[in-house]
């Protein structure tokens, strides 16, 4: 969408008023560092997508859709050595294309759709976390498209997107080794910093460091890890990863129930 000429943007040297607004929000309330916000998850809600999922955790709302498998674009490459278990050779394995988008009204300030580097980085993080879970060898020469849309950012957006994407893939009937559950953490600045599980937007903004962990709960394998900031020594990061993995395990039963309910709904709706 080329530049938005219809809105009145004001004179050249204007600046948004939020810069000068007094910081009237108080510091986030003290809370139990291991609390997870209640999650609402629903799979199978979009009629046009092969699989879809909607996840809401606190103020974060993510909608994810999966389409495919369809024929992969890009040149054909010759076969290589075949993988174990009769799967396609490495060069012919399926591809997972992930797309992460923020709605323009998702954050506090409006962000025009081509979000630039941040969205591509998060899309790459999504892809790296979902690839270990999906049996791409069973979809030779095909590509699966996963697109996540963040409707509102209330904290730990990437974790919510990961979970929603895994649910959508499962809803689409894509062969997977396990679900992927994501969990966000943040470390508050200050003298005695602790890692907070599932931060809200306010906690994330004031954080000195942030971490997102993605776990495959049954296999107990870490599928994705992305963290940055002034986290401190390695022991602090190790503690954060442990806290995140524990949070993922606690979230798993909710997602299982969501998929069972979606399967039942599909059965009931199918014509006899």
């Amino acid at each position: 969408m080329p530049g938005d000429h219809r809105r009145i943007r004001g004179p050249e040297e204007s600046q948004p008023p939020q810069l000068y607004a007094a910081d009237e929000e108080e510091a986030p309330a003290a809370r139990d560092p291991t609390r997870l916000r209640p999650v609402y998850a629903r799979a199978g809600l979009l009629s046009q997508a092969k699989g879809s999922a909607y996840l809401e955790a606190g103020g974060t709302k993510v909608l994810c859709a999966v389409s495919g498998p369809r024929q992969a674009e890009g040149g054909e490459r010759g076969g290589g050595p075949a993988g174990a278990g009769g799967e396609a050779p490495a060069a012919l394995r399926g591809r997972l294309l992930c797309d992460f988008r923020r709605a323009p009204f998702a954050g506090r300030r409006r962000r025009a759709p081509p979000g630039g580097g941040e969205e591509r980085e998060l899309a790459l993080a999504l892809q790296e976390a979902l690839e270990p879970a999906v049996r791409l060898g069973r979809y030779p020469r095909a590509q699966l498209e996963v697109s996540a849309l963040l409707l509102e950012d209330g904290g730990s957006a990437l974790a919510a997107a990961l979970t929603a994407a895994a649910l959508a893939l499962a809803d689409a009937g894509v062969e997977m080794y396990d679900l992927v559950v994501g969990c966000g953490l943040s470390r508050a600045p200050g003298p005695a910093p602790t890692w907070l599980l599932d931060p809200t937007r306010l906690e994330e903004e004031r954080a000195a460091a942030g971490l997102t962990v993605a776990l495959m709960p049954v296999l107990n394998q870490v599928a994705g890890l992305l963290g940055s900031g002034e986290g401190g020594p390695t022991e602090s990061w190790a503690e954060a990863v442990r806290l995140g993995l524990e949070g993922c395990q606690r979230l798993y039963p909710v997602l299982q129930q969501c998929l069972v309910r979606a399967a039942r709904r599909r059965d009931a709706a199918a014509p006899l």
């Binding site: 600046q15 948004p16 810069l19 290589g80 050595p81 580097g117 941040e118 591509r120 980085e121 790459l124 790296e128 976390a129 690839e131 270990p132 879970a133 000195a208 460091a209 971490l211 495959m216 296999l219 107990n220 394998q221 870490v222 599928a223 994705g224 890890l225 992305l226 963290g227 940055s228 900031g229 002034e230 986290g231 401190g232 020594p233 390695t234 990061w237 190790a238 990863v241 442990r242 993995l245």
Partner: protein
């Protein structure tokens, strides 16, 4: 990422060399074939080029190779060749941080590195590396951004760090972070003064002496250590062949004091939680050693002064 096609036999060879075989010592005496020596070599961590699991390849670092930049560095790590140029330009500070300058990273994967990078092929890798660099510098302590401010809200120094990938031989992230650190160490930003007239209009004056400049402190600039999981062990500084055998790697960005500023899992595979903790510890250990050697070399090169022989691209 540039990749190399390996057969299954070659992969097995590399993986077994890295892992321990755990063959009982008594049984080895029965075999007199060359397999005896091979099996013994596999008991210790032995990689294809004879390194241990935590050893880096020989690194060549040279600063001040490009004369038009404020600072530059060239790093050769095995077959990986990186050139970084830093240019300091004046601009307006960001709205949320009016008292600080900032850094902008741009990574260009040249088509010389591998045929895969021809045309737009290298763009994805370039953006990935640039985003990682933004992430590792995204904290208050890495670079003193307040020293880059000239006058709050109006002028500041913006450091454009441009990374050029000349040759790809595995372990790109490590080499790039070493080169960025060396280039920032070499950066010389001209000293400016802000003069105010009676009417209130500001004028920026450059000092007359061309050697009068501010240097950045790179004490807390982190370096990336990539640990590749091969079999059930992990290796530091993987070559292209070893990267082809590894399904997952952990990228840890460590400062010289052992503070971790960024952690990322790279690759198609998954990692065990226990191996993640081990890899973090190894990364911190290796990172500290890397930092001390890099600081020593940079200070030594600096102390040679104008008498230093510039090798450049001819060496």
């Amino acid at each position: 990422m540039a990749s190399v096609a390996l057969s299954e036999a070659e992969k097995v060879y590399i993986v077994h060399g890295v892992q321990e075989m755990g063959i009982g010592g008594g049984h080895l005496a029965c075999f007199s074939s060359p397999r005896v020596w091979e099996a013994q070599g596999e008991k210790e961590d032995l990689r294809v080029d004879g390194r241990g699991c935590e050893d880096y390849r020989c690194v060549d670092v040279e600063t001040d190779v490009v004369s038009n930049t404020s600072g530059s560095a060239r790093v050769k790590l095995g077959h990986t060749d990186i050139l970084v140029g830093v240019k300091a330009e004046m601009g307006t500070p960001k709205l949320e941080k009016p008292n600080e300058g900032y850094l902008e990273f741009f990574v260009d994967c040249s088509a010389n590195a591998t045929p895969e990078f021809e045309g737009r092929g290298g763009d994805d890798l370039g953006t990935e590396i640039a985003n990682t660099l933004y992430r590792i510098f995204n904290n208050k302590s890495s670079v003193d951004l307040k020293s880059l401010c000239i006058s709050p809200r109006e002028h500041c120094w913006i450091l454009y760090v441009d990374v050029l990938l000349l040759e790809c031989g595995g372990n790109l992230f490590d080499a790039i972070s070493i080169a960025v650190k060396a280039a920032l160490f070499n950066t010389r930003i001209p000293r400016v003064r802000v003069l105010e007239d009676e009417e209130g209009s500001k004028d920026i004056e450059l000092s007359d002496d061309p050697y009068d400049c501010i240097r950045l402190s790179v004490e807390n600039v982190p370096c990336i250590v990539t640990l590749c999981k091969i079999g059930y062990r992990h290796v530091v500084d993987a070559t292209l062949q070893e990267e082809a055998c590894s399904l997952a790697s952990l990228l840890v960005s460590v400062t010289s004091k052992g503070v971790v500023t960024c952690m990322r899992k790279v690759g198609k595979g998954s990692l065990d939680p226990e191996s993640i903790f081990e890899m973090m510890e190894t990364g911190k250990r290796v990172g500290k050693v890397l930092h001390t050697s890099l600081q020593n070399i940079l200070h030594k090169e600096e102390s040679l002064g104008t008498k230093r022989q510039k090798v450049g691209f001819l060496g």
